[in-house]
Amino acid sequence: MKLAGSLVLSLVLLATSGCGGGGDGVTSITLYSPHGRDLLQLYEETYEAAHPEHDVRWLDMGSQEVYDRVRSEAANPQADVWFGGPDTMFSRGVEEGLLQPFRPTWADSVPESSQHPQDLYFGLYLALPILVYNSDAVTEEEAPRDWEDLLDPRWKNKIVLRDPIASGTMRTAFGMILSRSIAETGDVTAGFEWLRRLDGQTKEYAQNPALLFSKLTRQEALVSIWELTDILLLQRQGSPLAYRFATSGTPIIDDSIGLVTNAPHADAARQFIEWVGSVEAQELAAEKLFRIPARTDLPREELPTWAVDVIDQLQPAAVDWDRLTKDGTAWMERWDREVRSKG
């Protein structure tokens, strides 16, 4: 009991003495972001070096969770900047009034299609769903070349997918299949049939990216669909993963940024958003952490070679983004009810 008492006492002392927030005259900027520690820490350090009057604080979480949190904190917002996630997620946030307008100067360098018409959010990077495979177990020759190849009998029970309910990337990939179905046949029936066949091939739906990668690298499954940046980062860490762009096209997701409604430190947040889209910050992210800038005015010679390669190889897939934003929720509910583990 005495030991416990002293333990508790010392912890309470630690709690009250340690971690005493920012000092006087320093404004904190809180980011909610799915971008991960690497990028967030890099930005925090680089930005604070140039702006000692600001303290950048971030919470890393899934893109769907950012939306969920901003929504549930709407009465007493804690976040200043909603930093990252597919634009479809942002447009749902807009419907609920979670974002306020702010047009940074770099907005003019971003394609019109990557901007919200009332300046509520802007595309910052491109996120690209690709075909991933374990390069120890699958040769480049054998690896699937297109989405269609995933239905090949040889991949039966060799596919692991991130659970699409929680993943913006997977939702977009499935949305692309359904968009295609609408464009070709007029409705989503064929698309759902395709997804059911994919479900029949799928061994498991992983509940988070780490488990997805763990299952891929440990060869519990060999093939998947995931987002390019993560795979490039894993490759650099030595993971035996390789990727390929689907020949019929890649759905291009605008990974966006926006200012939260009633942000507690809105002015500081505006300065941060301004900086994040700057040439300096975009090149930094591209060079160090495999982000593909959404800005189209960056000179090719200043981008790393991998980024130039990607931009050259990229075949955009046709996706009906408006329809996906509008019907995405209902589609995923239907998928969950009628397709999951039914194929």
Binding site: V12, A15, G62, E65
Partner: protein, 557 residues
């Protein structure tokens, strides 16, 4: 309740406490129910409820939650109760140490525990590969999936409730009763049936109810292992993540209703006569095992402890594996301290540990006080008051953590002091409040079970000798229920320390707890670092369990 404790002369205190509990526990749930009944257009309607009722898979999920929880109770009791008897009644080498080891599954927080199971028994897990290799199979001999996997995790983590509660009750019973029965010619089984089991009943019911409700609210295991085997909690999260908050609310109402029903049923079973024991203190020395059993029983107990500790071991190993180095090998090819180095060289990584520690301390202490007060006042009241008080204390366990968090977030997202609603969302205080509510059933049930075993004659004697209420409480009541309270407190602290499901909704930058950091590390593919936090959590929990959960054992013997 003839022969029960004195009725209190001050119903005011009970009224105030009931009001407080109703506001803390009942009110947010009421608001959730109202929200669930709200139609998209703003009025009230049963629209979402009828959608729910028409879907077969919703009923299926509810049914699965129910039978899986019942199966968990059976599995946990079958494991826990015999062990409690063995460890309370027999002495053998290493008994003290083993007792401590057997409670260790509680020190494994849900998220981390499930992860450890995955790396042990999962398809590419250590044990799976060992067995597969031994049998010469090229495919994994089993897959850690569906209900067997969930049941395995539940039995593993929840048998401890039965073990701890039954053992505490056994230690608190008076051996002279059994001796008396034996000298009157009662056989072994008759003593068990007519003396021991009635005394154990409150503890068994308490443990059974806790196990049932914990399984109903269990999330991490069904989430990671369930696949298409959906239970109600995973159904709720799927609905919520898919943006259908209203359906999620209706699903929670349905789940809460089933759990509430279980609560009522268990009260009916347990609400009858409670046999008071222990007139005076008779020291009981457990007899040593003799003959064959002297060797076999400890060997089996050690073997069991070894299996129980495998997840802890694999967690420690994982914390030593540098990122992305353990792929298809049976054992990790590289082990070093790089994850620990990262942890200790970055001050920011320590912040979650500090947050979790202070919040868990505050929440479990408050839960202990509230739980004890409610139990102590409740036993002096008539049926209805008592039911309300004790019901409010146990109710939060029936509510899935996620939903309770959402309910708190909804209730305390407006500033209407006149309606009992304050703006707490986004502040540091809402999370400790959620911990308090989530752990209230742990301290409350422990207090109820402890008090139920108390002999009212002692308090009456104290009163007759002129001891005031406080003196009697302090000198007579508290010392006797201390083992039960300490066990409840230890469980409450550990639960708060490792909490994940409520934290994920209510944390802020300032108070982000350990489990959130682990979750974040997992997202960032830093499995090794997640394991470092897991090891830390495990160590902290273990220390607490040993000092609080065990330290007062002497008082019971």
């Amino acid at each position: 309740m003839t022969g029960g404790p004195r009725r209190t002369r001050w119903p005011l205190a009970a009224t105030a406490l009931t009001a407080l509990l109703l506001w803390l526990v009942g009110y947010p749930l009421l608001i959730t129910l109202i929200e669930a009944l709200r139609s998209p257009s703003g009025g009230f309607s049963l629209e979402t409820f009828s959608t729910f009722a028409q879907r077969g898979e919703e009923w299926l999920a509810l049914w699965r939650s129910l039978w899986l929880s019942l199966a968990s109770v059976v599995a946990a009791a079958v494991l826990g109760v015999p062990l409690a008897f063995l460890f309370a009644r027999r002495d053998f080498p290493g008994r003290r140490l083993l007792t401590a080891l057997l409670t260790l599954p509680v020190s494994l927080p849900p998220l981390v525990g499930v992860l450890a199971f995955l790396f042990l028994y999962g398809e590419s897990g250590l044990i799976t590969r060992l067995v597969g290799g031994f049998l010469g199979m090229s495919e994994a001999p089993w897959r850690l999936q569906g209900w067997p996997a969930i049941l395995l995790v539940h039995a593993y983590s929840m048998y401890v409730y039965f073990f701890l509660f039954a053992r505490a009750a056994l230690l608190a019973t008076d051996p002279s009763q059994r001796e008396a029965a034996a000298s009157l010619g009662a056989g072994r089984w008759r003593i068990l049936r007519e003396v021991t089991l009635p005394a154990l009943r409150p503890a068994l019911l308490g443990a059974g109810l806790l196990t049932f409700l914990t399984s109903m609210a269990s999330f991490s295991a069904p989430y990671l292992f369930g696949g298409s085997f959906r239970v109600m909690t995973t159904q709720i999260v799927a609905s919520k993540l898919n943006g259908n908050l209203r359906l999620a609310m209706v699903e929670s109402v349905a789940l809460a209703a089933v759990a509430f029903f279980a609560l009522v049923v268990s009260r009916r079973w347990g609400g009858g006569s409670v046999v008071a024991v222990s007139h005076g203190v008779a020291a009981y020395t457990a007899p040593p095992l003799t003959g064959f059993g002297r060797w076999v029983v400890p060997a089996m107990a050690w073997g069991f402890a070894f299996v129980l500790l495998l997840p802890h071991a694999v967690l420690i190993v994982l914390s030593l594996v540098p990122t992305a180095t353990w792929t298809v090998e049976l054992f990790p090819p590289v082990l070093d301290l790089s994850n620990y180095r990262t942890f200790f060289t970055d001050a920011r990584r320590l912040a979650p540990v500090v947050s979790s520690a202070w919040m868990a301390t505050l929440a479990s202490a408050a839960a202990l006080v509230l739980g004890f007060l409610a139990a102590n006042l409740g036993r002096r009241q008539r049926g209805r008051w008592r039911g309300l008080l004790e019901g409010m204390v146990v109710l939060p366990w029936a509510i899935p953590g996620t939903v309770f968090a959402v309910a708190l977030a909804v209730t305390f997202s407006v500033d209407q002091p006149w309606a009992g609603r304050f703006l707490l969302i986004g502040t540091t205080w809402i999370l400790p409040l959620a911990y308090l509510l989530r752990t209230l059933p742990l301290t409350g049930r422990a207090a109820i079970a402890g008090l139920a075993q108390l002999d009212p004659a002692q308090e009456e004697a104290a009163a007759a000798l002129g001891a005031g209420r406080w003196r009697s409480l302090w000198r007579v009541t508290l010392p006797q229920v201390r083992p039960a309270l300490a066990a409840g407190l230890a469980l409450a602290f550990i639960t708060s320390l490792g909490d994940f499901v409520t934290s994920i909704i209510l944390y802020t930058y300032e108070n982000r707890p350990i489990a959130i950091e682990i979750y974040s590390n997992l997202r960032l593919q830093e499995i090794g670092l997640a394991a470092v936090y897991g090891v830390l959590l495990m160590l902290l929990s273990t220390v607490v369990l040993f000092t609080w959960g065990e330290g007062r054992k002497a008082g019971a013997i």
